[in-house]
């Protein structure tokens, strides 16, 4: 095709191969706002941003868009992309002996300085191995030498990366905007020294020096937020629980504190966003209102690992939105946050955006709204025509259980809001619930059906003329997965058989013309529970499962539980130990040395309150001293988005 400006020759991609696979546009790049830098002399640091799932999922991810822009803004770095090839392409690459390559310059991943994976969900771990294998990069950090790329990871699963710890040379904890820059600065110093003996000064003034790959990693481990797994030894008790996790080199911190960007307005909003050439899952530009969530729902990992809440100012957001729409030509803008209704200046912001977007014929989408009269009004203004789907997440079927999980929603609120929505012309509602929450009884499961019936009754109580279209009510359940760094990290997951039983019960209770019931495949939830609270002993299991053909495990139709179970058994491990065991309050967790800023004692107290059914107020109402004030930012120090 064209001359690709890199120091390494691009891989040849025969037309025959592209014609033999589904959606070849996934593999050729060339999108609007793609950045392709001239690196013929190899002077730039090559960073491959890897998303271990298909293109359409990876390209929908905000983190990729933020970091792609940010890394390419650096003059010394060229950031390119790679996604997990779908099995047809993976097979074709193997057959033709073509190594996995970046989209921008078709450079083999093995020629990059950094191969960085974003770990969005545990079930993508085998895809990380697939990408490394296809790239010809050794799977374990210990097997890599001076010439191999540094394989790094980040994203939500990095809060307990232990099952994959042996794979990564280093992991980034928390938000990458600042720490990646510091890492690249340090790398630059090492690279200029020919990857031999080098000296550098970290951004906090600490002088570092070292030699070789280990020397570089030792220096990197002193950057706050960088975790080098090889520099920690894990000791186990005879029963398999962790006894201790301790640094094994001098100068390596006992605990690694996650990084946060204190002032979001100083972190760039991605505006020159990549515009995919094929339809992706979320085909729109995102506007990130704030990070974190004040609500503290006890099952929700995002509510604890992104504290404290920090907002962008409405002025910066409106300007960013204008710029992003102009630079991408996208017809849809979505407000993004964990709980959009909590943005202090939501209404005025939305109205400013709508006024801007109307003449451009662009539409505004508002996910993650709490359903109340304010949001119904907003939704009404945002969608002049389409009024189909409203989603709402009560999460639990009874008030008692909602108190256990600290979800401050009452049945009355819900039914009243639904009434307003129906009166306003909506006819499609989707309700999300979780099965298997701590303290759940049969009555709570039945409560889900009762709540659905109450919504149905509310609809029927409306005058006939208002009910122009038939009600379409969907109940969707997922199975609760206890996650690290949450108040429920001590809780067992219900066994697979119980999951199936509860789903069967609900299927029976949710019969009806206007009702439909959707559920997730319980086996994948079970395995997610094994991996999310796993330890380093799972690494050989993941490798084995991968070698035995496990890939794209998050795709229900591809997940192979038997293969995973066999791999566990080969290594003498019991999945119930990880998924279904009640943990002791004093237990040392594999992830305890990774510090999210929230105290373990606070989480334990929240666990106690959960079992007592006591609510905890959200941050703006009353601070519960969770520990995140250590970052000195956002809601903890009273900083709110100015008008």
């Amino acid at each position: 095709m064209t001359n690709f400006p890199t120091g390494v020759p691009p891989v040849e991609l025969p037309r025959r191969l592209l014609r033999s696979v589904e959606k070849p546009a996934r593999y050729v790049g060339g999108e609007w706002n793609q950045v392709r830098k001239d690196n013929r002399d190899g002077a730039l640091t090559r960073f491959a941003f890897c998303f271990p799932d298909v293109y359409e999922i990876g390209m929908s991810h905000l983190g990729l868009r933020i970091l792609y822009g940010l890394l390419n803004d650096r003059e010394d770095t060229a950031c390119e992309r790679a996604f997990a090839p779908w099995p047809d392409m993976a097979e074709a690459l193997r057959r033709e002996g073509i190594p996995l390559f970046s989209l921008e310059s078709r450079t083999p991943l093995s020629a990059f300085d950094f191969v960085g994976f974003t770990l969005q969900y545990e079930m993508s771990y085998t895809n990380v191995l697939l990408m490394l294998r296809l790239a010809g990069i050794p799977l374990s950090a210990a097997e890599r030498g001076l010439r191999d790329p540094l394989v790094i990871g980040g994203g939500p699963c990095a809060v307990n990366p232990e099952p994959m710890a042996d794979c990564f040379d280093l992991l980034v904890l928390g938000e990458g905007e600042e720490v990646l820059g510091e890492l690249l600065d340090l790398y630059g110093a090492w690279r200029r020294a020919g990857r031999g003996a080098f000296q550098a000064v970290l951004s906090d003034g600490t002088p570092v020096s070292g030699e070789g790959r280990e020397g570089f990693l030792l220096a990197a481990a002193r950057i706050p937020g960088i975790y080098v797994p090889a520099f920690y030894d894990v000791d186990y008790l005879p029963d398999g629980r962790v006894a201790s996790v301790r640094p094994n080199r001098p100068g390596v911190p006992e605990r690694v504190l996650r990084r946060v960007v204190a002032h979001l307005d100083r972190a760039p909003l991605p505006t020159r966003d990549l515009v995919p050439n094929l339809e992706v899952v979320h085909d729109r530009v995102f506007l990130e209102l704030f990070r974190g969530c004040t609500r503290g729902c006890r099952f929700c990992q995002a509510g604890f690992i992104y504290r404290p809440v920090r907002s962008r100012s409405p002025g910066a957001l409106a300007a960013g939105a204008r710029e992003a729409l102009a630079a991408t030509g996208c017809g849809e803008l979505a407000l993004l946050s964990l709980s959009t209704s909590d943005y202090p200046a939501l209404e005025p912001l939305a109205d400013t955006l709508l006024a801007d977007m109307e003449p451009r014929r662009a539409s505004l989408s508002l996910p993650s709204l709490r359903i109340d009269s304010v949001s119904l009004g907003l939704l009404d203004r945002a969608s002049r025509v389409r009024k189909s789907g409203l989603t709402f997440a009560p999460e639990a079927g009874t008030q008692r259980l909602r108190d256990v999980i600290n979800k401050g929603v009452t049945e009355e609120d819900l039914v009243r809001a639904m009434g307003q929505a129906f009166a306003g012309g909506w006819n499609g509602v989707k309700l999300y619930f979780m099965l298997g929450l701590p303290e759940e009884t049969d009555d709570d499961v039945a409560g889900i059906a009762r709540l659905a019936r109450a919504v149905e009754t509310q609809y029927r109580s409306l005058p006939r003329e208002t009910r122009k279209r038939p009600l379409s009510l969907t109940v969707s359940t997922s199975v609760f997965v206890p996650k690290p760094h949450t108040p429920f990290q001590w809780e067992p997951q219900i066994p697979l058989a119980a999951m199936k039983e509860k789903q069967r019960t609900l299927r029976g209770l949710l019969q009806g013309k206007s009702l439909s019931y959707q559920w997730h495949e319980p086996a994948t939830s079970f395995w997610e529970a094994v991996l999310s609270r796993g330890d380093r002993r799972l690494w050989p299991v993941i490798r084995d499962a991968f070698e035995a053909g496990c890939l794209f495990d998050s795709w229900d139709d591809r997940f192979r539980l038997e293969t995973w179970l066999a791999a566990m058994e080969r290594h003498g491990l019991d999945p119930a130990f990880y998924a279904n065991r009640v943990r002791d309050p004093g237990e040392v967790f594999p992830w305890d040395h990774l510090d999210m800023g929230v105290d373990k004692s606070f989480l334990l107290e929240e666990n106690r309150r959960a079992h007592a059914g006591v609510l905890t107020p959200e941050c703006r109402t009353a601070c519960s001293a969770c520990g995140a004030a250590c970052f000195g930012a956002g809601v903890c120090v009273g900083e709110e988005a100015a008008g």
Binding site: G30, G329, C330
Partner: protein, 260 residues
């Protein structure tokens, strides 16, 4: 159809090229790519009404995935008039790598069949090692009388596989087409259409075939015929570069003319 759309005050016909990575974009996705380019370039595109407004736009003849083109056409509705040359320039500058618009002109919007319905033929250039010789072998076969010269191939359709004789659909074959000019079609802009001199000098054949809504010969079927009747190895045919070099509509007195 463009002309009937109430929002469209004007219709522009554009001539465009697509090569490189853009060749792998599917037809529906290509429409979206153009839509976003129209928005980025802030051009006064007319939008359809309804739930999901999208620009009023039709392509003369959809392109298969992996097929490049040097000479293609589409019509775009505008909500207000503007200079066609400026329209072409601005749209072209807002298109991603491999797509370029070389020309635009206003077309009469009163009645008559649309561009799509008037397409009659397309010219394809197929590049692969041994193309010229294979083309000569195919010409020899087609010169044979009756069934001996027929080119039956299997075509997968909605209702299963059927056999189709390609001979009547092949209007002419050229075993030695001239090398492609490095730039786009005559007078074209063809920025970002990297076809190197080396590439266009390759062994090639050129075929003028029936195209359009009545009869249409897809270039991959022609490659099938080359495999079956001219001894081209399947792997070679599968790797061929397929480039549309011309698109023709009915002209005066049954002639074929380019739409622009």
């Amino acid at each position: 159809m463009t002309a009937q759309e109430p929002n469209a005050k004007r219709t522009f016909r554009i001539r465009f090229a697509r090569t490189g990575p853009a060749a792998w974009i599917g037809h529906l996705d290509l429409m979206r790519v153009f839509e976003r380019a129209l928005r980025r370039a802030c051009l006064p595109a007319a939008f359809t009404q309804g739930f999901n407004p999208h620009p009023v736009m039709t392509f003369a003849l959809p392109l298969g995935v992996g097929v490049e083109t040097r000479d293609d056409y589409a019509e775009i509705g505008l909500s207000e008039d503007m200079d066609p040359a400026l329209f072409a320039r601005r749209l072209s500058a807002a298109l991603p790598e491999g797509l370029a618009v070389s020309q635009a002109q206003a077309v009469a919007s009163e009645g008559g069949p649309g561009l799509m319905a008037r397409v009659r033929a397309a010219e394809y250039r197929l590049e692969f090692p041994g193309a010229s010789a294979a083309c000569r072998r195919l010409l020899d076969r087609m010169a044979r009388p009756g069934d001996d010269g027929a080119l039956p191939v299997e075509k997968k359709g909605k209702d299963g596989v059927r056999t189709l004789d390609l001979r009547p659909l092949v209007l002419s074959l050229d075993p030695a087409p001239p090398a492609l000019p490095a730039a786009g079609p005559a007078g074209g802009v063809a920025q970002a259409t990297p076809v190197s001199a080396r590439e266009s000098a390759r062994d090639a054949l050129s075929a003028l075939v029936a195209a359009g809504s009545r009869e249409n010969l897809r270039p991959d079927l022609l490659l099938d015929a080359l495999v079956r009747y001219a001894g081209v190895p399947e792997a070679v045919a599968g790797n061929a570069r397929i480039l549309r070099t011309g698109l023709f509509v009915d002209g005066p007195g049954g002639t074929l003319v380019r739409p622009m």
